[in-house]
């Protein structure tokens, strides 16, 4: 690990000023410390934000509001979250390991870096690590890579499970930066790789994710997360799906669906949602709607199986959501 200057922030303004001057925010550290040790990340200065008062969970009739420093395990165990937004605890508990969930923050989870093996291999070409150096995955080992939102420069999937469910639930982020506060939809946090895969998010220099707001929609309680992977726990998704349904008189009145493991960012399935509206809440409707999910997919040499796995995963997630009492 390269030497770095360490600062422990005691106020938000102090932290934001340090980050605006180039320091990296440090929360749980489960991604950053690992990447710094591998020298994939080499910040000259790190600002520890763990003492800031951003670890809270508040429930109202309209929404669940989660401070960005709440830990994955704390959010997953919170009774209000479990009651009002059961998709969130299920999604969180399907990610990482118990040890990591005790430490990893909710804000950091959204900003975790990709798990493409070439990103961590310092002697391999990677446009995300060294812009312009090329992509080793597109002509190499890419069974875990994306089939949606790729470019000729990068095909790494976004690794967060939580981001998939937050995108499905229309969650928003409160950001605090040198120029004040603003709110954005979670889905707008993530960039497509296009020609600049090293630019992953839309945060301005020094901007800090302060809190996450998840609206309590009528579909929020009939919601499930299904994660398909190579082993039954503690593994990244091959394909995952978050599905939330509002069913009245046996018909789908509203649907919220997003997929993970398939896109270069968490992928909202708007066309599948539209195809479900007004249809009976049944496997036949789910299959017909999920077939739309593969439109625009561009498989690489090793990940064609995801084109079949994606609709199958969505169908099963919809069935699970529909079965919630």
């Amino acid at each position: 690990m390269r030497p770095f200057e360490f600062q422990r922030a005691t106020s938000e303004s102090e932290a934001i000023a340090a980050a605006a001057a180039g320091a990296r925010y440090l929360a749980g550290g489960t991604t950053l410390v690992d990447l710094m040790r591998e020298e994939v990340e080499t910040p000259e200065k790190v600002v520890d934000i763990n003492r800031l008062p951003l670890n809270y969970i508040r429930a109202t009739d309209e929404a669940i509001v989660i401070g960005a420093l709440a830990r994955m395990s704390e959010v997953a165990a919170n009774q209000d979250v479990r009651r009002l937004q059961p998709l969130i605890p299920e999604t969180l508990t399907e990610g990482a390991s118990p040890q990591l969930r005790n430490v990893a923050s909710i804000g950091g989870n959204l900003l975790q870096r990709v798990r493409c093996p070439y990103f961590r291999m310092l002697d391999a070409a990677c446009n995300k690590r060294v812009p312009g150096s090329g992509c080793s995955a597109i002509g190499g080992l890419n069974a875990g890579h994306a089939i949606l939102g790729t470019s000729e420069h990068c095909a790494a999937t976004h690794p967060s499970d939580l981001a998939v469910s937050l995108v499905a639930l229309d969650a928003t982020l409160l950001l605090k930066g040198p120029r004040g506060e603003r709110a954005i939809p979670v889905t707008d946090l993530f960039r497509l790789p296009e020609a600049t895969p090293h630019l992953e998010h839309t945060l301005e220099p020094g901007e800090l994710i302060a809190e996450i707001r998840i609206p309590n929609g009528p579909y929020a309680r009939k919601a499930r997360y299904l994660k398909v992977r190579d082993r039954s726990s503690y593994e990244f998704a091959l394909v995952s799906a978050a599905a939330a349904l509002h069913i009245e008189d046996g018909l789908v009145k509203e649907a919220r669906i997003a997929a993970g493991g398939v896109g270069t960012r968490p992928w909202r399935m708007n066309a599948v949602e539209a195809a479900l509206l007004g249809k009976p809440a049944s496997r036949i409707s789910y299959e017909a709607a999920a077939a739309v999910s593969t439109e625009g997919t561009r498989p690489l040499s090793g990940n064609g199986y995801k084109v079949k796995l994606l609709p199958a995963t969505i169908v099963r997630a919809l069935e699970m959501a529909g079965e919630v009492a």
Binding site: M1, F6, G29, D34, S97, P98, Q99, N102
Partner: protein, 201 residues
């Protein structure tokens, strides 16, 4: 040679690396250099004052910001029961309790946890009396080589405390952050289940 080795306080890991034969002596300076790079020590640039309570004992240290809790325990406090496996948060061998919660000590920078209370495998037994989970590991043959065992036990303590040890399936899921290359999982699950049961009664 023995004096020179002790002067530079080689780690067991380094000793293992250099004890492979006479040829290894030629690379000794390089090996020593890498040991220091992994475990930055006192007097480094930008050192930070931190204090911990480790297994009940108050400890003040000056640390390089790069120092992990794992390296602090092993290299600075000589608590080598906590093991370094992958050093990237994937295997769980380094699991300790920080403020009562199980964490991977390899991904925890010491400077982030100033003021924390840390419990390692050395702090689990009551004098010469093993903790019920330690005794259960022996009773159920929950290890072969033993390298992952201290991490398994610390993680098992967390698993029980969190209330995720009510069935074999639940224990398997909630112990998945601890890898055992010998494959002693059935014994590990049985040991955690037994200790959880004793904990409730």
């Amino acid at each position: 040679m023995a004096d020179a080795l002790s002067e530079i306080s080689l780690t067991r890991r380094t000793v293992l690396q250099v004890s492979g034969g006479a040829a290894a002596l030629a690379v000794l300076p390089e090996v020593v250099g890498s040991a220091y790079a992994q475990a930055p020590t006192e007097g480094a640039r930008d050192a930070v004052e931190v204090s911990f309570t480790v297994n009940g004992t108050a400890t003040d240290l000056r640390v390089d910001p790069r120092l992990s809790v794992l390296d602090m325990l092993r290299e600075r406090l000589s608590l080598t029961g906590t093991k370094k496996g992958c050093n990237q948060g994937a295997c769980g061998a380094c699991t300790v309790l920080i403020d009562g919660k199980r964490v991977n000590a390899c991904l925890a920078l010491a400077v982030m946890y100033d003021g924390a209370t840390i419990t390692t495998i050395e702090g689990v037994a009551d004098g010469e009396t093993l903790h019920p989970l330690q005794a259960a590991f022996i009773e159920h043959d929950a290890f072969q080589c033993g390298y992952c065992t201290s991490g398994q036990i610390m993680s098992g303590l967390g698993c029980i405390r969190e209330g995720h040890a009510s069935s074999a399936e639940e224990i398997s899921y909630w112990m998945s952050g601890n890898i055992c290359r010998c494959g002693a999982y059935p014994g590990i699950v049985a040991a955690v289940a037994q200790a959880a049961k004793e904990d409730r009664t």
